[in-house]
Symmetry: C2
Subunit: 345 residues, 2 copies
């Protein structure tokens, strides 16, 4: 995709003339925005470097597009967490791209992984981006096959290595995070816990389910897991379902802030004390966790650092380095007011 850099660029001329890149571009393209003196100087310098007026567009184009392609999947659920995640992640990405003068080419689609795949395919075909960042990978995601078929396309996946199998991946710490929560609750004396988990088609749902089950079994704890969408109504309903049974759990771990806030509210409305009778832990700390009463204990990750790491991997790929998969920073458990030692009843 990349061509050898045999042409002079705007950056080259700007450096040689001691002016900004904008000034060079205005001057060479005959646009307003620079003084006549600057224009004359830029034209002199550019000509001395081999620039010819009738060839401006071509000779001044960089071989690279200086852009990273990102397709964000949007849905209609109350899935604010996903939007926040994407924005923070993109902010981290920009933080490393900016000094290199790279932009993000952003598309959003409500058409799921298949629609995203078609956009990446167009980008690969047209050479519209230098590299791709892939988020929200599902089981059987067509984007995995696309990038396997195009090893020349540079891409980093935010996913799990078990799913991407050899494709360069910034992999999540969900396994570790799930085990940390189980050990934390074990330390508080909880032996019978539950999960209000996300939909089973999400890779991270399964990762968390498996790690939770494994760690519980090691520690001799019991865990019941129910799955549902990231909706307040689901958090409420599944919490009440768990409390219905005689041997109800003493702690519930929810996969999002939305379901955790709703679960805590539903328990309290039913006369169950949080954290007196029931501890609640939320994944994906957010402002909602601190707005709630009691403030929710939550798993926190530095999402911006995910963008920074992914950006660094992508730039190294663009620079021709071979890049291995890397782990995200680990989750932190932020202890607030919704968890307590199990009460001896």
């Amino acid at each position: 995709m990349t061509m050898p850099k045999t042409t002079i660029t705007i950056t080259d001329v700007a450096k040689a003339a001691g002016v900004s890149k904008s000034a060079v571009s205005y001057a060479l393209n005959g646009k307003p925005g620079v003084s006549d003196a600057t224009r004359a100087k830029v034209l002199d310098v550019a000509r001395s470097m081999g620039w010819k007026p009738n060839n401006a567009a071509k000779s001044l184009s960089d071989a690279s597009t200086r852009t990273i392609g990102v397709v964000q999947l949007v849905d209609d659920a109350e899935n604010f967490g996903a939007g926040m995640f994407a924005m923070d992640c993109l902010a981290g990405l920009c933080q490393v791209l900016d000094p290199r003068d790279y932009s993000i080419t952003l598309r959003m689609t409500a058409g799921g992984a298949h629609a995203a795949c078609r956009i990446h395919e167009e980008w690969i075909a047209s050479g519209a981006v230098d590299a791709h960042l892939i988020m929200g990978v599902e089981l059987g995601d067509p984007r995995l096959a696309l990038f396997r078929a195009h090893p020349e396309a540079k891409a980093v996946f935010l996913s799990q290595r078990a799913v991407t199998k050899g494709l360069p991946t910034l992999y999540s710490s969900d396994d570790e995070g799930a085990r940390m929560v189980v050990r934390y609750l074990h330390g508080l004396g909880h032996r019978n816990i539950a999960r209000i988990a996300g939909p089973e088609e999400y890779v991270h749902t399964i990762t968390r389910d498996q790690a939770t089950a494994d760690e519980c079994s090691k520690l001799g704890m019991r865990c019941t897991t129910l799955h549902g969408k990231y909706l307040a109504a689901v958090g409420e309903q599944l919490c009440l379902a768990l409390l219905e049974f005689g041997d109800s759990p003493t702690a519930i771990v929810c996969d999002t802030d939305v379901t955790a806030v709703a679960a805590a509210r539903a328990a309290i409305a039913r006369g169950v004390s949080v954290p007196g009778d029931l501890s609640i832990v939320a994944w994906d700390d957010s402002p909602s966790c601190t707005s709630a009463t009691p403030k929710l204990t939550a798993l926190h990750r530095d999402v911006r650092s995910i963008g920074v790491k992914a950006g660094s991997m992508l730039l190294r790929m663009i620079d021709g380095e071979s890049v291995d998969s890397e782990p995200e920073d680990p989750y932190q458990l932020i202890e607030r007011d919704s968890t307590a030692p199990v009460s001896e009843a």
Copy 2:
């Protein structure tokens, strides 16, 4: 920057050959991804339309970049609202851009309006984007002068007409929203209210301040306004300051969800009943407003529709239409549990 469309495009060839644009690009660029039969067919069709192999990159480039430039200002405050706003707005923008095969070219900067201005200037100079969307305009913003100096650059501002003075603007309904809240509180019997407002350098802060003061004066109400950053600590501190005075307000309108949640919590911790003794209204409804106890009455706007409207204005500009400033959709007041008729004490 735009050239007359005298060249054939990938789209033209794809239509004529009855294959996807990706297939055309793979075929003509000699890349894997299409069968030999498809490649032969595409080459035949393209040649019949005047395409020449040694001129591929040039003859297949569209005159336009098919991208809209957006620079998002990021800061380090607890300003989650801004991130959510940007993401929802971009989602709306993509919704209208996607069918036209347009992408967003996104940059984020922590360098404020001046850093954003330099990026737009580069884009204007290099012709890297077809049009610009400008968010987060401040008083004396250098981007206003930039786009006045470059009337050939297509741009839509999300701001106030009083600030953009003739530049195409999708203007907010903050004036109307502020008046609606005052009338709502007046209807509940409140006569002495307060505002915990945002920083005074924000255009929408001043817009809300002025409209609130004007509407209060019309209705014979009193309003005290304090300004501060969008931080929980500020919401708490300013609420306590307002409650300190003998003649404290019976209702407080906060400029963000963050300060509103903190103000409500601080009042309750001090033994003030919300909404019994004090009503609280939040601007910019968010999940935090429904996570709080009591759930907060809030001003809600359909942020995605802002992106949709802005995108439609930008596409009409790109199509050569002249575009006038337009209003955003009005705010809605969502009544929840934090407001009540004033108590007769």
